[in-house]
Amino acid sequence: MANHPDAAKTGDLKLSSITKSFGDFLAVDDLDLVIPKGSFFALLGPSGCGKTTTLRMIAGLEEPTSGKIYLGDTDLTDTKSYRRPVNTVFQNYALFPHLTIFENVAFGLRRRGIKEVKESVEKVLALVELAHLRDRKPTQLSGGQQQRIAVARAIVNRPALLLLDEPLGALDLKLRRQMQIELKWIQTEVGITFVHVTHDQEEAMTMADTIAVMNEGRIEQLGSPADLYENPKTAFVANFLGQSNFIKGTVESTSGADQFVNLQGTRIAIPAARNSSTHKSLLVGIRPEKFRIHNVGDATTGNKLEGGVVTDISFVGVSTQYQVEMPWKQELMIFEQNDGGAPNLRKGDAVTLSWEPHFTFALDGDEDVKSGLAGVDGE
């Protein structure tokens, strides 16, 4: 199935200044996006940020207020949905309740008058390992099975593009993890471009090659999962993907690739490439697991912050989480692996923190530290 017949005729999906307004509400705001052919692309963002709307415009179920959609060199903007080489796995699966599983999967093939329906359907049912359920009705299937049939019904058509709108949202955690692996495997197997919409950052990170973080109808940042995590450009992205400690600082000097920052009275180094701000005042971000925690006086490498006091310790199996209060009255969060590297600490102990400069990122000082935090709790 890897050599898809239509895929050869198509290419990258390009959204060019796409805008969608409902009345005077801007659901998608002047969005530019290129989704490379064959990639597993995730649109990640909090509820209501315009993910579904974007997907529906790509599928042709919603008309953009302005802007253009291209697949390769073809302009799809005014093409009817049933003429687009695009298939969707809907948020609620939308399987046809009056048709058997077999007929559900065969639906698209029959509409296009394709021969060898039986063969293709059986092949794709085998791929999702549900061949034995071909004569059942959708209501007789479990949630996970319905989800796989929804995927099968879409990929059997070998579209140039498969759109998945939170396809795993209704499943419990264990099944969701399993389906994530399966979907990823299917994508590699069939080689179709997947555009996967989710508000689960972990899901996006484990599955996608490229993630676009969306917020209020715009793309906040686009990149590989590691890139977004290690080098977020806004507080929203930093908070939406994982947790961060933000400390206010000011730039003191720049020498070559390094910048020196006054961080609440301590001079630290950060790679200039990791500073996405041109301002003097910065928000310096350090992920909790990047910190190392030491007894006062122990040897450290990299950047160092002194004068911390442990205010809380919680043991969570693979790691221990510390709350440390700094002299400027800010609580920092530190995760240490339980691999014997960290000292034995108790509440009230004085500690020193250290971290490697290249694990630092810096944002504009006027960024909202709390931006995007709701998304983390949302799950």
């Binding site: 599928a59 042709g60 179920l61 949905s81 969707t88 609620n92 399987l95 309740p97 509409r111 058509n157």
Partner: protein, 297 residues
Amino acid sequence: MAFAHAGTATASKPGRAGMRIPYLLLLPGLLWLLLFFVLPLINLAETSTKTPIAGGETGAYEQTFRLQNYVDAFSENSAQFSRSFIYALLATVLALAISYPLAYAIAFKSGKYKNILLVLVIAPFFTSFLLRTIAWKQILGEEGPVISILRTFHLIGADTSITATALAVITGMTYNFLPFMTLPIYASLERIDPRLMEASGDLYANGLTTFRRVTFPLSMPGVVAGTLLTFIPAAGDYVNAQILGNPTTKMIGNVIDSRFFRIVDYPTAAALSFTLMAAILILITVYIRRAGTDELI
């Protein structure tokens, strides 16, 4: 059809008291049925095989278990029987042809006017059935708008009229039963998840194919309910034929009516009623089997 699942909700409560609750809930309905349906039915069955008392006055009958009554009743009135079914069928088809687009438009295209349109569909119910039928006579009558429009466009001759014809009876029934057709179809269309139609479009079906393959099959429960709710009362109706028809458009309802109330020939009237009921039951059983709606949830 819509009530099919009602019983299951209470059945899940465990314990002996819980087991009894569904039956208790059924009780008033069952009593009602027994009192006003089963007992009269038995009475009717009993009447249908009676014969007149020899030398007795009119209306005096004795039980002789004469099954020949049925044969006589049917053979004497076979024309009215077939007319009833043909008229009812035509009225049902017409009502379906008018109601489906109407219900579809209300369900999917009416936007904020949905509720107003629904009220308009039911509005005729605020007046009595009889009054509506008489009004229909006015509409189709010599002074009415229909005749004058048809005459203006020379679609009918100056001396043709519509009242007292089969057409008047059939259109009258169509009109009277329209809400019974429209509402169930509307209800089942309304229940369809619009995302199913989007999914169909997403899977290369154009508008018409989506309607044929998805929307229409999913609205079948409503179509079946609507056609039954129209056909059954239409087949037994006598008001429309009485008010809008002529002696050659008499339906079986008119015969039963006159046997019961004018000729006081109770056994024939009862036998006719039973035959009508049996015929309708058979037709409907065949129809439901063919429509295959039991497969739809």
